[in-house]
Structures are given as C-alpha cells and as structure tokens.
Symmetry: C2
Subunit: 362 residues, 2 copies
C-alpha cells in the first residue's frame, strides 16, 4: 500500500493506493469517521462493474448508500445532468454530514465533485478514480467542474476531497487506449518535474505496458506526489500550478478543433507536449535533445506525436481564446531541461504557427 | 464613512458604508487595484435606476464594463438564469482577473455571487447591496446560492466578496415594506448578540423609520459588525454561525407554506423570532420579559408577530425537512436573555405545535 498526503491546511487529505482497497471501502470510511448517507455517482460502464457491489457493501456496513448512474462521456459534465444529481441528493435527504462518492473516471469525478462543492454549499466528497488518467490527474488537486456549451470546465470550483482511494485492480479491465491516455499525464510529470522519474519510465516501459502492479503502483504514487507538491504551493492556480498545463495549450486546441472524442485527452496532451518542447527549443530555452527525449518517451508509450484532423488557422483562433489567457495573453508552459519548466507569455504567433505546421501530418 | 473589516485570513475584506459611495465606484475599484473587465449583474428595477450610470462611469474610467439585467424576484435564483449569466460572461471574455459586480438586493447578490464562485472556478466578486436586507445580511458573510425546484438555496458556496460597498443613498428610494424587512434582521442582531444595540433601536425608532442617514449608517455598521464577528469564528456554519438563523426555522416554514411572496423574508423572520422567543420561555430558558421585549421591538418597527396564511400541520412537516437539520434533528436557536443565545436540538414537537398555534391568528 502507498499513501500520498496532500497538505492543504484544514483541507488536507490522503491518497491511498492499494491493490484491492475497494473491497475495504466500508472499513476505510469507518476509520475516517464517516457516518450517515452516501450518494455514489458513477457512469453506466464503471457502475455496472463495481456500483452495486459497493453500494450493498456500504448498506450492510450500516450506511444509507444509493447509486446514481450517469451516461459515460463528456456530455454528462453539464449543468443539466448536475441538476438531476441535485434532485437525487435532495430526495434521498443528503445533509451536510453526508458524502458524495465519485466512482469512475474524470467525467464522473468532475461532475460529482461539482455537486459536492455546491450542494448545501459543500458536503464531504470522496474520490474513487477508476481510470489511470483520473488516478494520476483529475482526482488529485481539487479541480471540479462542468462544461458550458461554449467551453469545457468553465463552471466549477477548487474543492478538495476528504480522501482519494485508488484501487489498482480497476486498471486490469481498463481498455488499452485508456491506459495510454493516462500514461501521457504520467510522462508529463517526469518532463516537468523529475528527470529521474522520466528515466524510470523509459527503463520500465514493458512492465508498465504489461500492467505490472508494482510498476503501476509506483508510477501512480510518484505522479500523485508531484502533483500534490505543486498543488500544495498554489492550490488556486495563480502561478506555479500552471506548470501542470504543460502540453495542454495545444491539446485544448486539438480537442476542440478535431471535435471532442477524435483524440482523447492524453493523445492530445502528448501532441501538445511535443509541440511545447519544439517551441522551447526554437526559443532557445533548451537544447535539441529535449524535444528528442520527449518524442522518444511518447513513442515508447504508443502515444501520437502529430495530428491530422485539425485546421491550423482554426487552432490559432482557439489558442487565443484559451481560458488560461489572462489579459489576452496565452501562458505557455515550456521546458528549459527535462524536469524543469518556465512560463512564457510572449511566444510569437508565427512560431506557434510554424510548430503547429510541423505537428500536422502532411 | 464607516468601514467594517471582515477578518477571514486571505479572504478578508472591507464593508464600506457611505452616503454616496456609488458615485466613487471607479475610484474605489482603482484603489483596490482592480483592472480589466467587469460584469455588472442587476435586476430590472435597480438596474434601471443605477445600472447605466455605473456602467458608463466605469467605462469612462477605463474599465470594460457591461450590464446584465435579470428579472427581479426569487425565481431568478435558478441554474437556468445562472446559465444565461455564464453565457454573457464567456461571450464578453471575462477572465480570472475580471470581476462580477452584484448591484441589487439579496436575489442579485446570491445569483451573482454563485456565478463569481463558480465561473472559471472563482473570479473576484464585488457586492453593491441596494436594499437594507442585503446590506445587513446577505451581502455579508459569503453565502451565495441559487434555488433548486425542491428548495431554496440548496446549490451554492461560501464565497467571500473582495469588497462590499453600501451606499446609504440607495435606501432613500426603498419601498417601506422593504425597509421593514431589513429591519427585522437588524433587530435580530440586537436580540442574539447585543442588548445595548436593541436598546438603541428601541430609543431611536422614529429616526430609523424616517431614514435618518446617521441612524441608518449606525445600524448598518453595527449589524455588519455583529455578523462579521460571528462569520469570522465560523465561516462555514459548522456551529456558532447557526445563531444567525434565529427566527429562521419557523420563518422558512412560513415562507414555504404561505407561498413565497405572501410574507416577505423579514416579516417571516419577525414572526419566527417571536415564536423562538416563546419556545425559549416555555422551555424555561429565559424569563417572561424576553418574549415581551421581542414583541415590543417588532411592533415598534411595524413588523408582524403572527401569521394567518399557513397550515400548522403542513408547517410541522416542513420543519422536519428544514435543510439545517443534521441527522434528522432541527437545530433551534433560542434565547437565554436579550443578546444571548443557545442551540437546542431537542425541542418537543408538541411545544412547537403549541407555539405555532399561538402564532396563528384565529
């Protein structure tokens, strides 16, 4: 078992990483002194595998637990679906001592977290991420949100869970492409913060891709640690936390322009990290071996380096409307070396255009 | 000019109370180092009086300010209207350095605060309350919310403004009944926390009802101070803050049962405070002169002591569903003396029924 603590004063919590911790959910909740009602929010895929089992184990442990299933997919992150979950919460009588449990991937975590953050002005929230992407990224750090029809994640909060439970067992049934998308974020942590971790990833590619439990446990733990240390210093993303957006500026433009779903998040981030590394090199911020190292690790992990389904002119427009812009400037996270970043808000448009052209398959 | 500070660590802010501070809004915002875009949310009543004037003064001071008007009334506090404001915020390009300005009464403050708390996971928020009720109650303390069709204020956050600007001048045009409803909350502060302040209110009834500016300034300041001191000790309403709900348990049942709008909030709170004082006396918690004092001050301020449009059996049902219940118990705020409270969660149903019967006009 691994345990990563996230130290945020009165909002501190632990991330527990274990092989079969879902089987002990009731005991863990008892140890954490949870009582009362629990609303488990899940999607129809994950919920059909684990939902009923968890609900009935909580029921037999004396909790009043109910399960609410949503459709899988990004469209579920809407105020409309949130309203349905609120209705469920009210009719089952959830109060401020009750908890919302998010059982699933990033969509479920973001939606359920938004409910927990805003229902009765905030009730306890428990994250049980079941995809690698959610385990290493969205379940850590307290960003919760729903989408607006004009953009992703525009409505939300910074709201920390009381505990994050990561059951490695949930990764055994994860589709391959979902594994790779999570690994893109894992690689990101190495690139922005820990060259030794990147080396580990390069040296243990086979174990990781074969889902060796101890390799997965280690990379989840290290990813959560890196993210936790960043979030501890800048919970509300006023400065340092921006480095977690490495690769995401171009990624958001790819996702939006190709249509959400064409590239999944990790694939878009992989291409975006490649692009950011190229920009870093062309600006003279790093040596040529930095983009080469980025290309090598991404290729090892079956992740794309280039895109084909996007229009560069439209992407340029999208980049300017990126919600991370402040006062109209895009804040680029760039590399000065493997494991070291800098923020740059004056990347010339021409250079961005040039790099996007290189990223586009001819 | 009076200035009340609300000390909440990194979320601290000032409440500025002044005769014509709206005319200096642009200077105040400059002093507070606000820059960039401003979305002013107001309703069609208040907005038609002050909205355009403020928007154009901000524009000429160099801000990009736009006005968004909502319908007056409780129905505006919905996710549906919130979604419209989000659309406005996105299309005008509000970013994390922009601000939302709530110009109006409690409905506008609660809605705009919910937008500010959740748009891009939180952007700066400025309260410009224009009703006495909002000035002494809803604009202070950071409670923001919208309603769900199954209940009021069920979706929201604790989100503090950056500054509260109270222009006494806005009270000159306030309808009489709106003045009285605010005074109910003012009286509440005396009853729960400061017998000297209650004495002031009894001795200066005429000045207050004649809207003497220095009397209004003092009572707003004292009300804000009392609320601020409570909120500082318990921002998230886990214990002490509950005393601010004095009178509100019965009030919520009156409002819900009579239909929202039949009694306004202050009227319902007045009747509720009378009821809570009676319960306190019948439980032996205070002397008989406590409910007498409550009746006297409420009557002086033209506030009702009894109701006629409610069904007691239905109210009893509502009381049990009150959202302040935790683990199924109603937390009653009761008086042990004028200016002193206690929380009691075991008031017998029969006593509640008896008191509601006394409050009902035959």
């Amino acid at each position: 078992m691994a345990d990563v603590s996230v130290n945020l004063g009165s909002s501190s919590y632990h991330i527990i990483i274990e092989q079969h911790c879902l089987d002990q959910l009731d005991q863990i909740l008892h140890q954490l002194k949870f009582s009362g009602k629990m609303l488990i929010v899940s999607d129809e895929h994950v919920g059909s595998i684990y939902g009923e089992k968890i609900a009935s184990s909580l029921l037999s442990a004396g909790y009043h637990a109910e399960l609410f299933l949503v459709q899988p997919g990004e469209k579920t992150k809407s105020l409309k679906v949130a309203d349905q979950v609120f209705t469920k919460a009210i009719t089952m009588g959830l109060d401020r001592k009750s908890a919302i449990i998010a059982l699933g991937g990033g969509v479920v975590g973001d939606l359920a977290g938004f409910i927990a953050a805003t229902y009765l002005r905030g009730i306890p929230f428990i994250q049980v991420p079941t995809s690698l992407l959610a385990q290493v990224d969205s379940s850590v750090g307290g960003k919760v949100a729903v989408n607006h029809e004009l953009g992703k994640n525009l409505i939300g909060a910074f709201y920390q869970p009381k505990v994050v439970l990561i059951d490695l067992n949930t990764l055994t049934t994860l589709p391959e492409r979902e594994l790779y998308t999570g690994l893109a974020e894992v690689i990101k942590y190495g690139l922005i913060a820990d060259s030794g971790f990147l080396q580990y990833l390069n040296q243990h590619t086979e174990e990781v891709l074969n889902r060796n439990p101890s390799a997965l446990s280690y990379l989840i733990q290290r990813s959560c640690e890196i993210k936790a240390r960043v979030v501890e210093q800048d919970e509300r993303e006023s400065s340092l936390r921006m480095i977690l957006n490495f690769g995401h500026t171009i990624a958001h433009a790819i996702e939006a322009n190709a249509g959400y779903g064409k590239y999944n998040h990790g694939e878009a981030v992989a291409i975006g990290m490649h692009g950011a590394a190229l920009i870093s090199y062309y600006l003279g911020l790093c040596r040529q071996d930095v983009p080469e190292t980025v290309r090598k690790v991404l290729a090892n992990y079956r992740l794309p380096l280039t895109f084909s389904h996007c229009c560069i002119d439209e992407m340029m427009d999208l980049l300017i409307r990126d919600k991370k812009t402040i006062g109209g400037k895009v804040h680029w996270v760039l590399l000065t070396a493997i494991g070291e970043t800098t923020i740059c808000n004056h990347v010339p448009d021409e250079l961005v255009y040039k790099v996007l052209s290189e990223l586009k398959e001819s």
